[in-house]
């Protein structure tokens, strides 16, 4: 029998070897950090500090601006020198708190709880909320919201996403190798909060050592199963992962909770453990800095607010013919126009691509209706039609072809022999019509 998986999908070259063997190392303390007040899906934070104020490491600088929101904290000790709009990785201007590091690394008082497993669920949830934890896989959805499902949607399974199906990225892989016990503890905490007796960890089978480490760490933990999954992009997409691990399909436009599942990424699970155990807020994360265009690919423990350009320097700088720098992975990441943007909670990687291999947007041809995109679309859509209709400005018709079920995984554009910018055309169409 084959490994668990889903229908469709692609096999891009995984290129993880570039950075897979580099252990997670801390970056040099940044002199200045820029903390965007909106790093998550949902309402932006309100600043709770003022210019000139001294802050400690781990101190809250922005409070949640609504239910779907998460606080942000300072990742250094120092002085607030500005609160103003700065560009983020997506190219948008976001209100941000700028702090000058005094290099004293003074922590704010954190509440240690050695017996965290005996705390009531509500208190654990409160800790997660206060720590500003969001999904670290890229979407940055506030975790506390996922942990508060409405009554009519009972949750019966928690899945830790260790698929890391994006090529090049190795941040989650390193965490599973280096901190498997803590990740399993994070899963146990999630299961306790949700009152669930079944937990899974799903890992793509191109990381057999991670599967082994996690299985060892899970030994003896009741109800926890570590599964090796078929290596196929987008195996780590929530819906595909739930399909592979639990055999359930989330309905179109639905959420995992519609089928009783909560999915969290391995990095998130680790942060959950650290928040519950040490009261540590989410102020740093693992960022894979990699690609053929970087001198020394590394997995860095980077503080939120560090500039991308500093991470690049930390890795020896660019090789000669760099053409593109991407925040995130090659399939769904954002190409950066400036390196002067900060690492946020959702930054899983910085990918540096050399000139060769970079497609120029205008070099695409007509759809030859080869059907490759249809075969690979994990959502069962017709990307060919979506792209043609969008190109012709027929956005309403594109809606009939389930435009809004596309989650922009990029598999279709990857396989297209005509190199059609399908994702770009899908985004255009989405912006022109209401769902």
């Amino acid at each position: 029998m084959g490994l668990a998986t889903f229908k469709g999908g692609i096999h891009p070259p995984d290129k993880k070897i570039l950075s897979a063997s580099s252990p997670i190392t801390a970056t040099k303390p940044p002199k200045i950090i820029v903390i965007p007040l909106s790093q998550h899906a949902g309402a932006p934070c309100k600043p709770v500090v003022s210019i000139g104020q001294e802050v400690k490491k781990g101190e809250m600088v922005g409070e949640p601006g609504g239910f779907v929101s998460a606080p942000v904290h300072s990742s250094v000790s120092g002085k607030v020198i500005a609160i103003a709009e700065f560009q983020n990785a997506m190219g948008r201007m976001v209100n941000s708190v700028v702090i000058e590091n005094d290099l004293k690394e003074e922590w704010t008082a954190l509440k240690d709880s050695p017996d965290y497993m005996n705390l009531p669920a509500a208190e654990l949830k409160e800790k997660i909320k206060a720590a500003g934890i969001v999904g670290l896989g890229g979407a940055a959805f506030p975790t506390s919201v996922k942990l508060s499902p409405p009554k009519e949607k009972p949750i019966d399974v928690v899945i830790i996403n260790g698929a890391e199906c994006e090529p090049y990225l190795t941040a989650d892989y390193r965490l599973m190798i280096e901190k498997p016990k803590d990740i399993i503890e994070g899963l146990k905490i999630l299961m306790k909060i949700l009152g669930v007796s079944k937990g899974f960890v799903g890992i793509e089978n191109n990381k057999p050592d991670a599967v082994r480490k996690m299985q060892e760490a899970a030994k003896g933990a009741s109800g926890i199963e570590v599964l090796a999954l078929e290596v196929k992009y987008p195996q780590g997409a929530e819906k595909m992962l739930i399909r592979a691990v639990a055999g359930r399909e989330v309905p179109p436009r639905g959420l995992p909770m519609d089928v009783g599942a909560v999915v969290q990424n391995v990095g998130t699970a680790l942060s959950i453990f650290e928040a519950a155990r040490y009261g540590k807020p989410l102020i740093e994360r693992v960022v894979t800095v990699t690609g053929e265009g970087i001198k020394e690919p590394k997995n860095l423990m980077a503080r939120v607010g560090t500039k991308i350009s500093e991470l690049i320097e930390e890795c020896g700088g660019f090789r000669d013919d760099v053409a593109k720098v991407v925040a995130g992975g090659p399939m769904m990441g954002f190409a950066l126009s400036s390196l002067d943007v900060p690492v946020t909670k959702g930054t899983s990687g910085v990918l540096v691509l050399p000139e060769e291999g970079v497609m120029h947007a205008e070099d695409y041809g007509p759809c030859i209706r080869c059907g490759r995109c249809i075969d690979v679309c994990a959502m069962g859509l017709m990307p060919s039609m979506l792209s043609i209709l969008s190109e012709k400005g027929m956005y309403e018709e594109a809606k009939e072809y389930n435009l809004f079920d596309c989650f922009e995984c990029g598999s279709c554009a990857f396989v297209c022999p005509s190199k059609r910018p399908i994702v770009q055309l899908v985004r255009l169409a989405k912006s022109m019509v209401k769902p």
């Binding site: 090659p330 079920d405 994702v423």
Partner: protein
């Protein structure tokens, strides 16, 4: 700042930032390559005439496409190989006897190519937008305009330089006019008939006669995943079934499916013409219906129609339904079918 010196030259484009190596032109050239065995066998059996006719079509296709695109101020796409492939397919669908100067019929392939490349393909919007298979429209046009010239079939001679070949009838022609026993008599016995059909030693269009050479090319494309099994299998399967059930006059379940599969343009049609991306459905389920339709219509024309051969018209008719079939057989959106599985504790 050494590391950021690139700042102003960074390319910003929408994800994904990596793409597969497959390109349209690679597909077109590979399909052309897959046609090579069948083409070579055509040249082997029909001599230099076959070579000249095919070359004429290929050159005219490339030239017409190039100048048409220039005329309408579009970027020339000759390098993408699709014009070359159309010319090649058209040439392989014509009788070698067209290379004749008295009566003069050398203009027929040129005009047919014009109809294929300029009218059927470019006037409909170019690659990707044509409704009908260009090579088949070119051939249909020639057949309707010059019905006599298009049905002069040379005896396969296997003598490469012969320019004045004897003419004869195609196996399907004999089958239609004189029946099965006569067909077997012409080739001696049944085994010899099969042998001739498989190797291509029989009258017919340049590239359609050698079932083996076509199968080699088709299997190569299947192996390279440039085509999928859906259309060829449903096409050939349906045709074989109908040939078996209704193939014999006066008796059910007594027909000979193999003769039908290996004669006429069946192999060339099912493996290379009906599988044309642009003019066939792209949803796999729809392709099954499309192929079955092609097979059924082919046999309907062969058994009941006025022509001995029906592959060309069958595919052209099904071409009209390709978009409709795609719409009708769209796959279900992920999650549309409810699946809630209990998790074993």
């Amino acid at each position: 700042m050494e590391a950021t010196k690139k700042e102003h030259e960074l390319i910003v484009s929408v994800s994904p930032h990596v793409k597969s190596e497959e390109t349209t032109s690679r597909i077109m050239w590979t399909v052309s390559l897959a046609l090579l065995p069948a083409f070579l066998s055509g040249v082997y059996f029909f001599g230099l005439k076959a070579l000249f006719i095919t070359a004429l079509c290929v050159v005219s296709a490339v030239v017409f496409e190039h100048f048409y695109l220039k005329l309408v101020n579009k970027k020339s796409v000759v390098g993408d190989g699709s014009g070359f492939l159309t010319g090649l397919l058209l040439g392989m669908n014509l009788p070698a006897s067209l290379w004749s100067f008295s009566p003069f019929t050398v203009h027929v392939p040129i005009i047919a190519t014009f109809v294929a490349v300029v009218i059927t393909k470019q006037l409909f919007g170019g690659l990707g937008y044509n409704v009908f298979n260009p090579a088949l429209i070119g051939r249909a046009f020639a057949l309707i305009s010059w019905p006599r010239a298009m049905t002069i079939w040379m005896t396969p001679t296997a003598s490469f330089l012969t320019m004045d070949a004897k003419t004869t009838a195609t196996p399907l022609g004999i089958l239609k006019e004189a029946g099965m026993s006569e067909l077997i008599k012409v080739f001696g016995d049944k085994v010899s008939l099969y042998e001739h059909l498989l190797t291509g030693n029989r009258a017919g269009s340049i590239g359609e006669t050698s079932a083996i050479a076509l199968l080699i090319g088709g299997l190569f494309l299947l192996y390279k995943k440039y085509i999928t099994w859906h259309i060829p299998v449903s096409f050939l399967g349906t045709a074989a079934l109908i040939a078996w059930v209704f193939g014999q006059k006066g008796a059910l379940f007594a027909g000979d499916p193999l003769i039908h599969l290996f004669s006429g343009g069946m192999m060339l049609g099912a493996l290379f013409m009906a599988t044309d991306y642009v003019t066939s459905p792209s949803v796999r389920k729809a392709q099954l219906i499309f192929g079955a339709g092609c097979g059924a219509l082919t046999m309907l024309i062969r058994l009941k129609g006025g022509f001995p051969e029906g592959v060309m018209f069958a595919i052209l008719i099904m071409n009209c339904f390709a978009p409709l079939l795609d719409r009708g057989f769209r796959s279900k959106v992920f999650g549309a079918v409810k699946t809630v599985k209990e998790i074993k504790k």
